[in-house]
């Protein structure tokens, strides 16, 4: 494979105008607002865009709505990790000459949509899982977390999930755009109601309305733009099942493959990472992913996150925007990990800025722990 490390950069990123509870905007409005804001952040215009990427909707819909006629189009839709994977696809397309300015957009109104997305009854998940009530990710991920409890112990797993919920909320209190900014105590966590045992309410991400966009371009073009380029040093993607019942190992996400591959491509190691942005659809997602990525061994996650190590002031900052748990999560969240990673690397994060943040690892997870996309990003 060609060495594409540092061949492209992220040059613009933004959320849509308002995120959280936004009852009167459609998902496509969030796409367009975010695209507008991200292009402005990059110092580019819509006319510069020749590659278009999204998930959930087809790019037919986003291109039509925004009035874009792309030369390269990609609607790869593998859940919330899709937008991380789009960065790698943009890198490939730009290097192959299919496009030069790639615009990745997302918009979703998980909280306020006026009509739901209908599921497809022809899919095996609809035939074999839905009839039993395997509907919605809290239920699916709860079964995976319970298997983890069985293998590694209930008390230490519970403590780890609490550590992650509390530390993520601490970061959210420092982010003006976060939906949940009130302090959360360990008691608040333990006393929150059951959604699907072993998950409390405070193990679960928010359901919000939000959009975001990311602009990727060639290294050469990036150097002439408004802000310092955020280099894509490494990227990897993959998946190993659809529904939770065909997941080969409920305690091992595909990050076990994409993490090491992205780090190897980037030529960096775990100890080089200044900031980890880890998709936190649930507290358990963060726990299992830290292990999968190799930051610690299997079953060692509870020790790794102990003592609020991932919180503000801790020596291993994770999810500094407040995560899907406390900042925003409209249904698919992956692109918001990139928004925060870019802002941290540029030093734009104010009260929550991680000092000397030079290298980031971002991991998106999609579906029922089905897919992962990992990128390693850096600033000069």
């Amino acid at each position: 494979m060609a060495d594409l490390s540092k061949s492209v950069a992220i040059v613009g990123t933004a959320e849509s105008d308002e995120i959280g509870l936004v009852p009167n905007k459609s998902a496509l409005q969030h796409h367009a607002e975010a695209a507008h804001n991200a292009l402005e952040d990059a110092g580019l215009t819509k006319g510069d865009v020749d590659g278009l990427f999204t998930a959930g909707y087809s790019t037919l819909a986003t291109a039509d709505y925004m009035g874009i006629k792309p030369k390269f189009t990609d609607s790869t839709s593998i859940g919330g990790s899709s937008f991380i994977v789009h960065i790698a696809h943009a890198m490939a397309a730009i290097n192959a000459g299919y496009c030069e300015v790639a615009l990745i957009t997302h918009g979703q109104t998980g909280r306020s949509a006026r009509a739901p997305f209908p599921p497809d009854p022809n899919l095996p998940t609809m035939q074999y899982e839905f009839p039993y009530g395997f509907i919605g990710q809290p239920i699916n991920y709860a079964m995976a977390a319970n298997r983890y409890i069985h293998q590694y112990g209930e008390d230490r797993t519970r403590q780890a999930l609490a550590e992650i919920a509390v530390s993520t909320r601490k970061w959210a209190t420092l982010n003006p755009k976060a939906m949940m900014r009130d302090e959360m105590t360990f008691d608040d966590y333990h006393n929150s109601r059951w959604i699907a045992w072993p998950f409390h309410l405070l193990d679960c991400c928010l359901v919000t309305d939000a959009g975001a966009a990311v602009v990727v371009t060639s290294a050469e073009r990036a150097k002439s733009l408004k802000k310092k380029p955020v280099w894509v040093l490494g990227a990897a993607e993959g998946h190993d099942h659809l529904g939770i019942s065909t997941m080969p190992d409920l305690t091992s996400t595909y990050s076990r493959e994409t993490g090491p591959a992205a780090l190897a491509m980037a030529g960096v190691t775990h100890s080089d990472i200044d900031l980890a942005m880890i998709y936190d659809s649930f507290t358990y997602t963060t726990l299992a992913t830290l292990e999968g990525l190799g930051f610690c061994g299997r079953g060692e996650g509870p020790d790794f996150v102990a003592g609020q190590r991932t919180a503000p002031g801790g020596d291993f900052p994770v999810n500094t925007n407040g995560g899907g748990l406390s900042y925003t999560h409209p249904g698919m969240y992956g692109i918001f990990l990139i928004v925060e990673a870019v802002r941290q690397l540029r030093g734009e994060c104010g009260d929550r800025q991680v000092p000397n943040c030079k290298i980031n690892l971002t991991n998106g997870t999609g579906g029922a722990l089905s897919s992962t996309g990992t990128v390693v990003l850096a600033i000069d």
């Binding site: 009854p121 022809n122 095996p124 609809m126 035939q127 074999y128 899982e129 839905f130 009839p131 039993y132 009530g133 395997f134 509907i135 919605g136 809290p138 239920i139 709860a142 079964m143 995976a144 977390a145 319970n146 298997r147 069985h150 109601r193 059951w194 959604i195 699907a196 045992w197 072993p198 998950f199 529904g243 939770i244 019942s245 065909t246 409920l250």
Partner: protein, 141 residues
């Protein structure tokens, strides 16, 4: 229970799974098995997902297995499940090898009463005139 009264999702059999659902209606659990790599698998597919052989057949499962994992659903995912909550979603490792999604029934929905690894056995719930769902309960000793 009549079709009209049942508001939870009802499986839509596909051509390759008609046999599975016909057998479930007869209160039998059947699995696909690959005659080349010699492994049974779930869910039913004509082509083996392990070795991609077309040389596959059907076998009747014993209906016995062990609990691989479970969760206790307190917040119903849709209105149709509201009267069921709390209920137990589960995966069972069948004696023949495959893992299948199901509900664990005839058990108090309390983690103190349910143990991963516990032996379970199939029971059949006729949800409409056409469709029967295989579910599982703790094995009687």
């Amino acid at each position: 229970m009549t079709e009209q009264a049942y508001s939870k999702p009802i499986p839509v059999p596909q051509g390759e799974s008609d046999y599975y659902w016909e057998k479930a209606k007869a209160h039998e659990l059947w699995l696909r098995k690959c005659d080349d790599c010699n492994q049974a698998y779930f869910y039913p597919r004509d082509i083996c997902p392990m070795c991609f052989s077309r040389n596959t057949s059907w076998i009747q499962a014993s209906g016995k297995g062990t609990l691989h994992t479970f969760a206790i659903v307190h917040r119903a995912p849709t209105l149709a499940f509201r009267d069921d909550a709390p209920f137990v979603v589960a995966m069972v490792d069948l004696e023949e090898g495959p893992r299948m999604p199901t509900n664990l029934i005839d058990v108090e929905p309390d983690p103190a009463n349910i143990t991963i690894g516990m032996p379970v056995e199939v029971v059949f719930e006729d949800i409409t005139d056409e469709i029967t769902l295989p579910k599982f309960k703790p094995e009687e000793v």
